[in-house]
């Protein structure tokens, strides 16, 4: 046998630096575009764009749309669309707002800011999202009504169910514990942020190690060891960098004084504390992780991509594509509810117009992130990066002082351009579009 052990001679032919790393070139391109956008705005705003404060704000502004975008990837991969996510967010937000301002304090007699209020409200909201999403999925999968129509109807229905539930009023202020999910009102602080960072770094190395061990076990070719470590180093740098930046955003002294006063303590002189990782961003990271696992490592994810690639083949392989549709839209519904938690707690109240136009932002984020409307292709991290790119464009232009109509014109153009570049990219790499 001429075959040698893969552990000692991993490559058949000498490879270049980049080939050995097996980078996802599409991901590199998107990160490149994102960096260019950031640098340009940083230049135009005399360095204000890339301050810890603005980066902190960017992350919490992106969270809501990005959470829904991860679900939209599954929807679009299976050749469906969901136009109702913004309205569904509003309905979930309205239900949760009523739960914590009327149902738990008055009907259940728990009073305001009871510790049970937050979990009850969120559970009920997520249940509502699950049921409504599953209902959409049932109409689409079992009654064969096109997703475009079902969710266009849902767009109108749920926007106005939200209105009906709240009589069109702004409901607030929301429960104190609930507001922890809103970003600035709920951050981990410096120490816990570093703990999360350390866990994330360990997790990244464990994942790399595990996948290498698996390949060695089955005697597949593996990357050179230095390439694995290089990837680990990149992940570490990204995680540590993000947490360092978020920790560098300092809590204003006046606010710190108030926090200490509220606890009945006095603030030590000259104390400086950073905000650290917002809970909403941690939530987004957790969801991204879970959704990536679902997409790559579960049967559900495999069936979603198979159905997107060839619905008939999936059905002939014994996959229940109707039930699959219900599951996908149910996931989308739950994610809308989670986004509703983040969005309403960020503004500390439920407003009648919450989530307006979010459906378009969410679809755009997924599509900019490389999800093909023809089905079968898309990634979770791409969608999140897409959401981040859109949000950066929007806030960057606002900081530069571009008027609102021009902002939207630019975002619209970027969407079309991004898809065109993606088509060119796929043509070059020989993938099917």
């Amino acid at each position: 046998m001429t075959e040698t052990s893969p552990a000692t001679s991993p490559q058949a032919k000498p490879r270049s630096f980049f080939a050995a790393l097996e980078f996802d070139t599409r991901l590199i391109g998107m990160i490149g575009a994102f960096v260019v956008i950031c640098l340009i705005f940083n230049l135009l705003t005399d360095g204000r764009f890339m301050t810890p404060r603005n980066i902190f704000n960017l992350t919490i502004q992106t969270a809501s749309v990005a959470i829904m975008a991860t679900g939209m990837v599954f929807v679009i991969v299976t050749r469906h669309i969901d136009l109702s996510v913004g309205s569904l967010l509003a309905t979930c937000s309205a239900i949760m707002a009523m739960m914590q301002t009327v149902v738990t304090p008055e009907w259940l007699g728990l009073g305001l800011n009871h510790p049970l209020t937050m979990p009850i409200a969120i559970l009920v909201g997520m249940l509502a999202g699950l049921v409504i999403g599953a209902f959409h999925g049932w109409l689409i999968g079992y009654l064969s009504i096109p997703a475009f129509i079902v969710t266009l109807g849902g767009f109108l229905v749920w926007r106005n169910v939200a209105w009906h539930l709240t009589d069109g009023q702004t409901i607030g202020p929301l429960d104190e514990n609930f507001q922890l999910f809103g970003g600035i009102n709920g951050t981990l602080g410096e120490t816990w942020s570093w703990v999360v960072a350390a866990l994330a770094v360990l997790g990244a190395f464990y994942a790399i190690f595990q996948s290498r061990r698996n390949r060695v076990l089955h005697e597949f070719p593996v990357k050179p060891l230095w390439a694995e470590f290089f990837m680990g180093a990149i992940a570490t740098a990204a995680i540590v960098g993000l947490v360092a930046v978020l920790n560098a955003y300092e809590i204003p002294t006046a606010r710190l004084v108030r926090i200490f006063e509220a606890r009945g303590e006095t603030m030590p002189e000259g104390l400086v504390l950073g905000y650290g990782l917002p809970i909403s961003v941690l939530l987004l990271i957790l969801i991204a992780f879970i959704m990536t696992i679902v997409a790559r490592r579960t049967r559900l994810g495999r069936y979603i991509f198979a159905t997107g690639g060839n619905p008939e083949a999936a059905e002939l392989a014994g996959i229940n594509t109707r039930l699959l549709t219900v599951k996908i839209f149910a996931i989308m519904g739950v994610l809308c509810a989670i986004s509703a938690v983040v969005a309403s707690s960020r503004q500390t109240f439920h407003s009648n117009d919450i989530g307006t136009l979010d459906e378009l932002r969410v679809i755009a984020a997924a599509v900019i992130g490389g999800t093909a409307l023809s089905g079968g292709m898309g990634t979770i991290y791409g969608a999140i990066l897409g959401a981040l790119i859109m949000q950066s464009l929007q806030s960057g232009m606002a900081m530069v002082g571009v008027d609102a109509p021009y902002q939207n014109m630019v975002v619209g153009t970027v969407l079309v351009l991004a898809v065109f570049i993606d088509i060119l990219y796929r043509r070059r790499t020989g993938d099917k579009t």
Binding site: N214, R215, L217, H218, E219, F220, I293, R297, T298, R299, G301, R302, Y303, F305, A306, T307, G308, G309, N310, E312, A313, A314, E315, L316, A317, G318, I319, G376, M377, G430, D431, K432
Partner: protein, 258 residues
Amino acid sequence: MTTPLVEMRDMQKSFGGIKAVDHVTIDLYPGEVVGVLGHNGAGKSVLMKMLSGALPRDGGEIFINGQKATINNPRDARNLQIETIYQYLALADNLDAASNLFLGRELTTPLGFVDDALMEAETRKIMKRLNPNFRRFHTPVSGLSGGQRQSVAIARAVYFNAKILIMDEPTAALGVQETRMVAELIDQLKSEGIGILLIDHDIHQVKMLCDRANVMKNGQLVGTVKVDEVSEDDLLGMIIAGKCPPNATPGPGAVQTA
């Protein structure tokens, strides 16, 4: 008399007012290759799809090993070890060979996650046996040639120990070399006692590969013949005119000769 592996009795299927399959009865014994012939639209694919669970039947009964079988969807058929190699529809183009081979029956880790490495290892093993030239385990199958795609589809049937194999024009998209490969494979599977139903309209190929052949016309069974006992012209006559040669077992679709 051994019991037939498959017996489809009095099968019926209509689309609108058109009787695609009209009271057809056929059978298949272990280690036998039985052809299903006919023009396009004769109903042969519809008949096979009722066996593979892809289409619900309007009437008729299916017996597997003499026992009445309930086949309402592809999963039922798979559970009865009926595997189908479709002409075009069988693969998800965006997934790689291993994902397609195990589609719907993924191997999982103890925690219930799909075990891609194990599936790739199994795929490499079976491919070494079926098509040693197959190397592209990491590209989506859309990037493979017709023959390579077909070998993925065949590997799927072989890997899961099919007892009954339905092949829908398995060589239609293949070159000479690959066609020979499929022919050898059919002989090999046959010697292992697997029953094969072969849909084809290449009469030469049917004469070469099959033991018996059923000819269909306009949804009806013209007749069943032993391919060694009839000439290619006889088969052509059955397909085109619905005329049964004297040594055939005529079906309800046979033209009554005076």
